[in-house]
């Protein structure tokens, strides 16, 4: 609690500039925790990793605890994770036995990335041929793929190693720990020999090291999550055979990748599915965030439509919709993603010699990484994915495939219904009590919950006036306004630059949120902080409506460390008004940088109350909800 107190004294309304701190380096150091290197862990054999991790000793915030666990598909962008120290220690205690196995399997598979892409066509005809009754159609040409997958020249030694873990896996139940250890030693020796051949340059080597590095912490996480302490079960769960999908999963840029680190960006780009051309002129403070040339991604992804075989069509469609901006808003994106996953699970069948739990987890991870490439995940989606993966991991092994699938689909439905729909209803019920006759309510942007609150209050016959504040470039408020006006609410529409004028008439401010962080910071659409600050100055209560599944344990003090950059063209041009072209030709100039932020962080000082499905709470109580909610629902 102490850290948060200090943070709050800093963020006094008079002193604090929301979101923008002039001294950048301290912020950077917060956002730049060692990513693959876990200080708690025993040092791993990677000198390259040690080099690039910046000296983060000068951090100001006492809250900063290096994240103890994360791996490439860790959508939680936990910056400063409030974990208890005992938990952290348990990792280090348990890591010891697990890493070698994971490391071996992971690294022995990693050079064979090409294999999957070569294999994919062979699976394609099989599926299609069964769907087309070829009775009357004469088949004139058939693809006869060679039974073995064509290997790269260098992959021969890899192939040999590939077989061994598989055979080992089948025997796993019977082998004792010592035997496994021996096997691992042998594998490691073989790997070292393969590496010594030096077929790949240092980049490949470092990639292997990276994967080796991340795996132990992941395994540690799983073992610590399962408090039953059965290490063998944990290692079996996480180890081994995610090979075909794993390379896909590694493809994803790390959710918290620092995009100002050139070498990593290069590496990530090589693996990316979506063609990502980095925008050239980025604002200095935000270089660590991904920003791509918008407009190049969509056509490129579209042309690859048929080439991404492992991607399920539904997932692909959702990805396209994210990329093109057809779906936006935390809830909608989350629902769309889950519905796509549901489709994918429905069509899923476990490949031979695989177990559903592991293979499906890997596959979901690959979907997620694809979605991240289309658009960075929102925090709510991260939580939802965590939920789903947890459900998959907790599936009883005895379940048959169809049962497991239906269980998962039910779980997804349950999540959508309970965590999103029902909690929205509860929030509406709570919030409506705060609306009285004669109120003037102000809202910013278009939040689905706020919209429901307003409509519900209107249905109850309350007489109130709504001020919809909007901002360029998305003008989402207009859509909200359209729906409100159609329902007969009396509304005022204005832009955010007039918010100080209109605020004096307002009695309450209702805001939506993308996430609420555990220090009470509200992470929401850019402009929310401004509205909240003005409301605070005018002594107008600010009510933030947010479903509890969007809460996150991260602590964030500014909107620089984690944010999303939108298309800079969106602010340099005005849609539908060709004559406003003052910036034409200047966009690529060296001394012009366009910044189109998507989110901002509202400090808790400006928030009077957070309305969530557990009731109406002050911002200081968010950690309680996070703690209780996690325990009750996510990890159960």
């Amino acid at each position: 609690m102490d850290p948060r107190r200090t943070a709050r004294t800093v963020s006094d309304p008079k002193v604090r500039q929301v979101g923008f701190f002039t001294p950048a380096p301290p912020e950077r150091s917060i956002s730049d925790p060692p990513r693959f290197q876990d200080p708690i862990q025993p040092p791993s054999p990677s000198p390259t990793q040690v080099n690039d991790h910046s000296p983060s000793g000068n951090s100001l915030s006492p809250v900063m605890i290096p994240p103890a666990h994360h791996h490439s598909d860790n959508f939680l962008r936990t910056a400063l994770q409030v974990t208890s120290p005992t938990k952290a220690f348990s990792y280090s205690a348990k890591t010891v036995t697990i890493p070698p196995e994971n490391e071996d399997v992971a690294s022995s598979f990693s050079p064979g990335r090409k294999v999957v892409s070569a294999k994919s066509p062979s699976s394609f005809p099989g599926v299609k041929a069964s769907s087309v009754p070829a009775s009357e159609l004469t088949t004139v040409s058939v693809v006869n793929l060679p039974p073995g997958i064509s290997e790269k020249a260098g992959g021969a030694s890899v192939e040999v190693q590939n077989d061994r873990p598989v055979s080992a896996k089948t025997l796993k139940e019977k082998t004792s720990k010592a035997e496994r250890r021996a096997l691992q030693e042998a594998q490691r020796a073989a790997k070292a020999a393969a590496k010594a051949e030096g077929t790949k340059a240092s980049s490949a080597a470092s990639k292997v090291v990276t994967s080796a590095n991340t795996k132990p912490s992941k395994a540690a996480k799983s073992s610590s999550q399962k408090n039953d302490g059965s290490q063998v079960a944990a290692s079996e769960k996480k180890g081994g055979d995610r090979a075909p999908e794993k390379d896909r999963k590694k493809d994803a840029p790390h959710p918290r990748m620092q995009y100002d680190d050139k070498s990593r960006v290069e590496k990530a780009k090589k693996r990316a599915v979506v063609k990502q051309t980095e925008a050239r002129n980025r604002v200095e403070l935000f270089r660590h965030l991904p920003q791509y040339e918008h407009g190049t991604q969509l056509p490129d992804l579209e042309t690859k439509f048929f080439e991404l075989d492992p991607m399920h069509p539904a997932v692909y469609k959702v990805g396209l919709q994210y990329l093109s901006g057809d779906i936006r808003g935390g809830n909608a994106r989350c629902i769309a993603m889950f519905q796509a996953f549901k489709e994918a699970i429905k069509d899923y069948s476990t490949p031979p010699e695989k177990t559903l739990i592991r293979d499906l987890t890997a596959r979901i991870s690959s979907y997620v990484s694809f979605l991240i490439e289309c658009r960075p995940l929102s925090i709510s989606m991260g939580n939802a994915i965590k939920f789903l993966k947890n459900r998959i991991a907790k599936l009883p092994l005895a379940l048959s495939e169809s049962e497991a699938k239906s269980t998962l689909m039910l779980d997804i439905d349950r999540f959508i219904n309970e965590k999103i729909i029902l909690s929205e209803k509860v929030i509406v019920k709570h919030a409506v009590t705060k609306i009285q006759d004669g109120d003037v309510l102000l809202t910013y942007g278009a939040s689905s919950v706020v919209e429901m609150i307003l409509l519900h209050a209107h249905e109850l016959g309350k007489h109130f006036h709504v001020v919809v504040v909007d901002s360029r470039p998305k003008l989402e408020g207009q859509l909200l306004l359209r729906r409100l006006v159609r329902k007969g609410l009396s509304c005022t529409y204005t832009h955010v630059n007039a918010v100080s004028c209109i605020m004096q008439d307002v009695t309450r401010v209702f805001l939506g949120a993308s996430s609420v962080l555990s220090n009470g910071t509200v992470y929401s659409r850019v402009g929310t902080a401004c509205v909240a600050m003005v409301a605070h100055a005018f002594r107008v209560p600010v009510l933030v409506c947010c479903e509890a599944y969007k809460f996150h344990e991260r602590v964030q003090l500014d909107s620089i460390c984690f944010n999303e950059l939108g298309n800079p063209d969106a602010i340099s041009k005005v849609q539908g008004r060709e004559e406003i072209n003052y910036l034409d030709g200047l966009v690529n100039q060296e001394n012009l940088q366009l910044l189109n932020l998507i989110y901002d962080a509202t400090p808790s000082d400006y928030v009077s109350m957070i309305i969530t499905d557990y009731g109406m709470i002050p911002p200081t109580s968010v950690p309680v909800i996070v703690r209780e909610y996690r325990r009750d629902h996510l990890w159960s």
Binding site: T138, V142, K317, L320, I421, E451
Partner: protein, 455 residues
């Protein structure tokens, strides 16, 4: 990706009369010494679409095409050939193979399309909007008609027929109106409610329908079943779908909805509505959604479906081989500016050339062809095993396989089919010579089409 690809390698085309016959269907016309169907299949193969259904009109043509495909694409594509009766049109052909179509969406590509527009992009656009039909539009190639201004009067009559009038919504994503060449001479009718819903319509006449469509299967089959008279996809089915997009028949949208409802086992009808509402509110509504909401706020009472357009970028190449002019243009372009379409630019063992014979740029000589002395070849394609005498001039022409050209011939802007024999000193300008024809020595033709009488 749950797409089925149907290549419509149709039957005889009237506009190509002297060039095609029973034994050489239009899809086998050589473009730079590859049958035109090769380009479509190659393009599909590039986009990893390896399972195709090729629909050919007529049994003979089917056998011919099938033999060719199995020879060329063995081990590369999984192709099934369906021979359908002649003259039933593209819609009829699809109707005939309707029961083989099982995937969620159908990609129907014309077999005479030479383009580098990615089928994947069309399919992705289709999926993204959840459209009923997505048509590929590309800009009409201008180079051909202007450059060959001297070419015969035959083409002039055909020119207007190649243009379409296409109405797009302001964001250029949806088709609002489509009318093909034949209907344009009459008054064009626009529906008022459609115009009202869209608000603004951009009418383009410089776009060409590339005949690469993505259809939602259920809707396509439904339309084909109910409208027996529909003959052509381009002239009947697509305009029908575009016109009815705001008053879609209940059945049209009913089917997918029923399917969706069946999927959701958890019975929270109220919640389902809310889910769909959240999703709907989150997206930028197209005019379809706005229109369907019109009467009473949120309840979607009016059925709509979306007709999308995929507009190929102006740099991409896209031509249909549907006239002799187009045939000439494509031959020239493929050897010239659009040579990236040919992946394996196999020019056989270099042909035997006589002394002082010049072959200009943008030319192609097939394997085993022989040329005499002092010949000139400019911007032409010459097929395999041709024998060309001395002092022959071939400009802007296409010479197919096994053609014998006597000494002193001058060929300009002509198409000479296989097994033709040109005797000495023949002068051909803007002519089409059908297969197996023999042109007697010294004769001179201009702008004519020569073909053997059918026996």
């Amino acid at each position: 990706m749950d797409f089925q690809v149907v290549v419509l390698a149709g039957g005889n085309s009237k506009s190509l009369t002297p060039l095609v016959s029973k034994v050489s269907p239009p899809t086998c016309l050589p473009v730079a010494n590859h049958p035109v169907l090769y380009y479509v299949l190659h393009q599909l193969e590039e986009s990893n679409l390896k399972n195709l259904i090729v629909v050919v009109e007529g049994e003979d043509a089917g056998l011919l095409v099938g033999a060719w495909i199995s020879g060329t694409f063995v081990d590369r594509l999984h192709v099934e050939i369906a021979a359908v009766p002649e003259d039933i049109g593209t819609a009829g052909a699809l109707r005939a193979i309707s029961h083989y179509l099982t995937a969620k969406d159908i990609l129907a590509v014309s077999g005479d399309l030479v383009s580098d527009v990615s089928p994947g992009a069309v399919a992705a656009t289709h999926r993204r909007h959840d459209a009923v039909v997505t048509a590929t539009l590309c800009s009409v190639p201008i180079s051909g008609s202007s450059e060959l201004g001297s070419s015969g009067g035959k083409d002039k009559t055909k020119k207007p027929g190649r243009y379409n009038i296409i109405g797009l919504d302001p964001r250029k994503q949806f088709l609002v109106h489509i009318a093909t060449g034949a209907e344009i001479e009459k008054d064009t009718r626009l529906q008022k409610h459609l115009l009202h819903a869209v608000g603004q319509m951009e009418i383009r006449s410089d776009m060409m329908d590339a005949h690469m469509y993505a259809f939602k299967r259920s809707v396509l089959q439904e339309v084909l079943d109910r409208k027996d008279t529909f003959q052509s996809l381009k002239q009947d089915v697509v305009p029908y779908l575009v016109q009815s997009q705001l008053k879609s028949q209940a059945v049209l949208s009913g089917i997918p909805q029923a399917e969706e409802d069946g999927n959701k086992k958890v019975s929270f009808p109220n919640n389902q509505v809310m889910v769909s509402q959240i999703l709907a509110n989150a997206s930028t509504p197209s005019f379809h959604e706005l229109y369907s909401m019109d009467p009473d706020g949120f309840a979607q009472t009016r059925k709509t479906h979306k007709c999308c357009a995929y507009i190929a970028s102006s740099s991409s190449y896209c031509v249909r081989l549907n006239s002799i002019q187009a045939f000439m243009d494509i031959n020239r372009d493929v050897t010239g500016e659009a040579d990236h379409l040919l992946s394996d630019n196999v020019i056989g063992p270099s042909p035997k050339l006589g002394t002082k014979t010049t072959v200009g740029p943008h030319c192609m000589l097939g394997e085993g062809s022989e040329m005499g002395d002092k010949c000139q070849v400019k911007r032409s394609v010459i097929g395999r095993h041709c024998r060309i005498g001395s002092h022959v001039k071939v400009v802007n022409s296409v010479v197919m396989n096994h053609v014998t050209i006597g000494d002193g011939c001058i060929i300009q802007g002509s198409v000479i089919c296989s097994n033709v024999q040109l005797q000495e000193r023949v002068v051909l300008k803007d002519c089409q010579v059908g297969a197996g024809f023999v042109v007697t020595a010294g004769s001179e033709y201009k702008g004519e089409s020569l073909a053997r009488k059918e026996k």
